[in-house]
Symmetry: C2
Subunit: 213 residues, 2 copies
Amino acid sequence: MKDKLIIVSGGMDSITLLHKHAQFIKLAVSFYYGQKHEKEIQCAVENCFMLEIPHITVDISAVGTLLKSDLLKNGGEIPEGHYEDLSMKRTVVPFRNGIMLSIAAGIAESNDCKEILIGNHAGDHAIYPDCRADFIAPMAEAIENGTYGKIQVYAPFLHMTKRQIAITGKSIDVDFSLTWSCYKGGTVHCGKCGTCTERKEALEGFDPTEYEA
Amino acid sequence: MKDKLIIVSGGMDSITLLHKHAQFIKLAVSFYYGQKHEKEIQCAVENCFMLEIPHITVDISAVGTLLKSDLLKNGGEIPEGHYEDLSMKRTVVPFRNGIMLSIAAGIAESNDCKEILIGNHAGDHAIYPDCRADFIAPMAEAIENGTYGKIQVYAPFLHMTKRQIAITGKSIDVDFSLTWSCYKGGTVHCGKCGTCTERKEALEGFDPTEYEA
């Protein structure tokens, strides 16, 4: 029974989730919100095409222009270094997961989907408040109560590390070269920003990524 | 201290809320999501202009095209009758308040606002699941936890009836002729749809509205 909607950014976490649950997914949704690394969406499109899963990109760039974050085209430079560095806080997009989950809830209800799959994980770093369990739990309750109990939220990677997600992906033959992480959105992964650093650590030993550095 | 963001549709509830808390409001936000009665937004603009409150309209019509509701331009005819009628359920926009609150949370955090004001009320009818306390409470918690505790949600009309809101508005001289309810979005209020029926009952005795019927 295909009755799940997945939020898929095109990063290694959501692409792993996509492949893991492919047979149950009715609709995949990506968001364009003005991110510098919009090429991640192309990875989502390619993986969905390969898996024959209908995919839509929702353009909420008008919302993005009203948000402050260095991750966005209207923001400052992407900092380099590790996620835990304070400078990485500037790449947080205010309430991004809340915005994506809410819109996904409306789309899910409109398409008779029963569940929203999201690949966020809290284990690795704490700078993103809308990735953590104490956000996901009330958000899931709000979505359930706000849709007559029709829509559930499922975040199976919530308590996993990125390394564990990478190993899960590897075990089901996810092609990580068809995923995108780098916040800078250049031709190849920069290898220096927080998300590249994290990607390298997670994929160590089986990393097909071409890095600039 | 002006540190509140208000979600203002242009209807009588949110306009009453706007006038009641005007001195504390830093930013007013309306959403264009493809509603047939987009002229409600003009009422929001006019009242904000009068009160010298900065106002922005966020265009999420790309999201609206993906939602199923007769309230939307891509939906069917607006039914006539009372809100309690089953046919009115077709005017529910899936998870609308969740979508608006989430985007408002991101905008609030980006503009150093501390609170989101929303004029929803649960008392009058039960067909809108995302108007009720069991939606607002977890949604408020998700927003608080998803913004490092920076943003609170305040829905002071939650347990009031529309009649009580109307009386509150009258007591502070709200000009209800500068508010819009009718879902049909014609030249004047139709007087027959669910929201017109409700408006008439709420404003009885001091209703300045011109009705078609």
